[in-house]
């Protein structure tokens, strides 16, 4: 496996994350949002984004898995491996994800969380592959739009490798 061009440098990512953090801080003010990270790919983005958020906020995690391999194209409900620790009724929930692809997993997750009656439920994604979308997912905060390339780095893996790269690269 070879890494091709750098799609977004570490500096570009950090600058965009700072902008997103500032925007989220303005929008949420003192409403104490609950940031929900999705394991495992989203944690690097979450970790940097939360430090760019200047208003009081809380943190929680979920882990989901699809029933079959190829979660990004599966249209079946994901299994919840780790549920939230916090009760989200009446809370402002911001779901943090590394990449939105077909949208199936995310759509199921949003439907599930909506049944718990949060005050608001929004999505912040670092990357969006709009060309791959099969089901509508409202993205309220987006880092970068990308073409339909296989990417890795900044938490996103290629066969479990390259999550530690501080930049995002195309995989050839």
């Amino acid at each position: 496996m070879n890494l091709s061009n750098v799609l977004f440098s570490a500096e570009q990512i950090q600058a965009r994350v700072a902008e997103l953090g500032a925007q989220i801080s303005r929008d949420y003010g003192d409403s104490n949002p609950l940031l929900v990270g999705i394991l495992r790919g989203g944690v690097v983005f979450l970790s940097d984004l939360m430090r760019a958020i200047s208003v009081p906020c809380e943190l929680d995690f979920m882990s989901v898995s699809s029933y079959e391999s190829g979660s990004r194209t599966s249209n079946r409900s994901p299994r919840i491996l780790l549920d939230l620790r916090e009760d989200i009724a009446g809370r402002h929930v911001l779901l943090i994800e590394d990449i939105v692809d077909s949208g199936y997993t995310f759509d199921h997750l949003l439907q599930l969380l909506a049944t718990r009656e949060p005050a608001s439920l929004k999505v912040c994604a670092l990357l969006n592959k709009a060309s791959r979308r099969e089901v509508h997912v409202p993205i309220d905060y987006l880092g970068f739009e990308i073409p339909d390339y296989f990417v890795c780095g900044y938490g996103i893996d290629a066969d479990e490798r390259f999550r530690n790269l501080p930049y995002i690269a195309w995989v050839r």
Binding site: D30, N32, V44, S47, D48, P56, L82, R85, E86
Partner: protein
Amino acid sequence: MSKLSETIARHGHEPLLDHVLITAAQLQTRIAEMGAQISKDYHGKDLLMISVLKGGVVFLTDLMRQVTIPHHIDFMAVTSYGVGVRSTRGHPRITLDLNTDVKGRHLLLVEDIIDSGHTIDHVLRLLAARNPATLKVAALLDKPSRREVYVPIAYLGFEIPNEFVFGYGLDLDEYCRNLPFIGTVKKEYQ
């Protein structure tokens, strides 16, 4: 709602910050050193870095970016039966287990803080029972004065006094995990 969380919700962390114990720059410098050391020590080995939610995640995501050799990451979540995760003596329940088999692999448990040591001691025993090739601990903070059970720390960021600390993944009533530095809490809020 406690006095602590009420204050933070209304005014942020500033009113209860006594002083910054470790700055963001100091944290990043030390983590870069730790990452370089780990990269050297595990060169050519199948390294799996394991983080325990929630507090250890910020440290893990910074540390992994300083580890230049190929490695994998995985997560565990544990919940203690009692209240007060940092001080409990009860065996923790695993609420999220590892996604991968660890037999024969080189495991590095990445922790934000070692306090009494009870929780990490249980996690270490559990992982050891799965026959990894090696099992070591990387801890950002060590409070040796609070230790009740021995924990071998192979890689340590900072040894700190017995103060009430927060930030950089460590919470105050679930708040303040997002601060990029480690601060101490004023006496009147403890």
